[in-house]
């Protein structure tokens, strides 16, 4: 399970570098564009791509990702079409892909059959936003059996006992949320970030990715210093949406991604 994820983190550790993870909403504005985005993200130095599965009621997301999911749904994105996109990426790239989803779209056509389809398409892990670890025993075994890593979140409000339970269910890496709140860019990185990383280190040997609110190369470097990887989400979604179909504007976005990735990579040196 999650060989591509494990291999990326092993290589980063060997090179003494930190990882760069990019989040985009699948299907915003079309699945075809998402395929191109993933390939260009990988070319710009992204180590792992998180693909948001659009959902009508994304309660853990801030405005940028909510609107992005709305555009994707309007464009006709479904989980089946997102997986078509993953297959298209897989024909040209081995970049690890993690789906970032709410539970209901994964339940709609049967959870076990759905995770098998997800694995067969070439997805490496799934992060289910609204699956608290209490509910993981009903879902994580099917994910592991299908060869999809259950990626779990920890937050500044997670207790030591919860971190232990999360570590026991998780595979691939653990997504550490840097602050309380929904997704979205912030001016200052929360002071909670160091604390959540330090406490999670004591609970697991899995790599730790830090995310929520990172939007500048400076923040990426600062975040990467204490973590194994940083995640950039809303700031990227916002830029891609702003660029639209304009080739020059899109090139500028991926140049920015390359700067973010370099800042993260360099933080390990």
């Amino acid at each position: 399970m999650s060989e591509r994820i494990d291999a990326v983190f092993r290589q980063l550790a060997k090179d003494g570098r930190k990882g760069f993870i990019a989040y985009i909403t699948a299907g915003d504005p079309t699945v075809e564009r998402t395929v191109e985005d993933v390939l260009r993200l990988a070319a710009a130095g992204t180590d792992l791509v998180e693909l948001g599965v659009p959902f009508s009621d994304p309660l853990a997301d801030g405005r940028v990702n909510v609107e992005s999911a709305g555009r994707a749904l309007k464009g006709g994105a479904t989980l089946a079409r997102v997986l078509d996109g993953v297959r298209a990426v897989r024909r040209r790239s081995g970049v690890p892909i993690v789906l970032y989803s709410y539970l209901n779209p994964l339940l709609a056509r049967g959870f076990e059959a759905t995770v098998r389809r997800i694995a067969a398409a070439g997805v490496d892990g799934v992060l289910i936003l609204d699956m608290a670890v209490e509910e993981a025993p009903s879902f994580a075994p099917a994910m592991r059996a299908a060869g999809v890593a259950p990626i779990l979140l920890v937050t500044p409000t997670s207790t030591a006992a919860r971190m232990k339970r999360i570590a026991a269910e998780a595979a691939g890496f653990v997504y550490c949320v840097s602050r309380t709140g929904v997704t979205g860019a912030r001016k200052d990185l929360s002071t909670d970030a160091g604390d959540v990383l330090a406490r999670m280190r004591r609970a697991t040997r899995l790599p730790l990715a830090l995310g929520f609110g990172i939007s500048t190369p400076g923040q990426a470097a600062a975040a990467a210093a204490a973590a194994d990887a940083v995640v950039v989400g809303s700031a990227l979604v916002d830029r891609l949406h702003g660029a639209g179909g304009d080739a020059k504007a899109r090139a500028a976005v991926f140049a920015w991604v390359a700067r973010m990735a370099r800042a993260a990579h360099g933080a390990g040196a």
């Binding site: 959902f55 009508s56 009621d57 994304p58 309660l59 853990a60 801030g62 909510v66 749904l73 479904t78 989980l79 089946a80 709410y102 539970l103 209901n104 779209p105 994964l106 339940l107 709609a108 056509r109 936003l129 609204d130 699956m131 608290a132 670890v133 209490e134 509910e135 779990l152 979140l153 920890v154 937050t155 500044p156 409000t157 997670s158 207790t159 919860r162 999360i166 949320v177 309380t180 709140g181 929904v182």
Partner: protein, 399 residues
């Protein structure tokens, strides 16, 4: 009849329903709330404080009123109305808002937030926040703010900030998501006063316990009055808090039939109703595993009801469990039937019911004539209809 399982497990599962389907950030406060609620519920001092406030501030016990003209008109069973519309602020919602605000004080939280559909829960929360000096923010869909404008004014007069929610369908579901976003962000200072027996554990259990005073009173009142238990209870079901509040004290009495009435809206077609038992499938929405109105891909469907308080895509998990066990059944009435229920109660009994509660009355208009004359029915009159007068006037002028 086999013994009905009445209690959820430690993480809120009623059989396969309920549970805790929330982002990890919310788990610490939910665990705290579960701990504080269980301790308070066992604490005699808390129960005394709650009981005194229910009596002196809310105005409990509410009357159990024999609706004689309605009974005669329908020619069926003797119909009693549990008068939750006579609670302070005009609906059962305050039973729960009071309990949760007392808990917020026990947790040392100085700020409360709430979602509201019809506005009754928002008014109740704003009221309790005013009484105890807490900051209060209420999230309300923009569409609901228009159709329940009176309650928006009331909340603002009570000192609450009412925040319009403009996402999606701009009704109750979006207001809940927005309240949860606020809670995730301000979790250390804020308690989320969820208004119905829905969401993640411990809310369905806790809200039921705070609302179960309705059924406890009704049970004692009917035994005093009729020297026997009723044959049937009927209540409207949005999230399901007034229904579970009435039903709970009777769940162990197999002779008492339980009927929940959902919003059939314009008919059982996608986007035109809110009858989850008629059109829903098992899914997860806003914290709970339950029946959800959704499309084949798991996207949540739009809903419609003339009553803002029933206009929601999912139903409280305990109701689905009661249905599975054969203990309760759930039916629906249309918008038009609900308005006829409103009119009937207004003209026959001099009571303007909330459009939500009118669904229970409408079910009686349809079903009571087929029931035995010696039967006894209790309908939960969960709220009063002043808030709906404006909207009803417009509804009628369009016809």
């Amino acid at each position: 009849m086999p013994r009905i399982l009445r209690e959820p497990d430690r993480t809120g599962h009623f059989g396969p329903y309920g549970g805790v389907f929330v982002p990890e950030t919310l788990m610490a406060p939910l665990e705290e709330l579960d701990r504080v609620f269980r301790a308070a519920w066992r604490d005699a001092a808390f129960r005394r404080e709650l009981g005194a406030a229910l009596r002196d501030y809310v105005g409990r016990p509410t009357p159990l009123y024999l609706a004689e003209r309605l009974t005669r008109e329908l020619g069926g069973p003797r119909i009693y109305l549990k008068r939750e519309d006579l609670c302070h602020t005009g609906a059962h919602k305050i039973n729960n808002a009071l309990g949760q605000v007392l808990l917020a004080r026990r947790m040392g939280k100085k700020r409360v937030i709430a979602e509201t559909g019809a506005g009754q829960h928002g008014v109740a929360t704003a009221t309790m926040a005013a009484k105890f000096g807490l900051e209060c923010v209420v999230y309300m869909g923009r569409v609901d703010m228009e159709r329940q404008a009176l309650n928006v004014t009331r909340m603002r007069m009570l000192g609450a900030a009412v925040v319009p929610v403009t996402a999606g369908q701009e009704t109750l579901k979006e207001a809940i998501s927005e309240a949860m976003r606020d809670w995730v962000t301000n979790v250390r200072t804020t308690h989320y006063v969820l208004g119905t027996a829905f969401g993640a554990h411990p809310y369905p259990l806790m809200v039921r316990e705070f609302q179960s005073v309705i059924g406890r009173e009704a049970r004692a009142q009917i035994l005093r009055r009729e020297k026997r238990l009723p044959d049937l209870l009927v209540a409207c079901v949005g999230g399901g808090s007034n229904a579970i509040g009435l039903f709970h004290a009777f769940v162990g009495d197999p002779g008492v039939r339980l009927v929940g009435v959902e919003a059939g809206g314009l008919g059982i077609r996608p986007g035109r109703h809110a009858a989850r038992f008629a059109g829903g499938r098992l899914g997860v929405l806003q914290g709970a595993r339950t029946l959800v109105l959704q499309d084949a891909d798991g996207q949540i469907q739009d809903t419609h009801s003339v009553s803002a308080g029933l206009d929601y895509a999912a139903v409280g998990p305990e109701h689905v469990w009661l249905r599975d066990q054969g203990r309760a059944r759930y039916e629906y009435v249309s918008d038009t039937e609900a308005v006829a229920g409103f009119d009937a109660l207004a003209r026959l009994e001099g009571i303007l019911p909330a459009l939500e509660s009118s669904h229970a009355i409408a079910w009686l208009l349809r079903e009571a004539p087929r029931m035995k004359k010696r039967d006894i029915v209790i309908a939960n009159l969960s709220g009063r209809g002043d808030k709906d007068v404006q909207q009803l006037t417009e509804w009628k002028s369009r016809r």
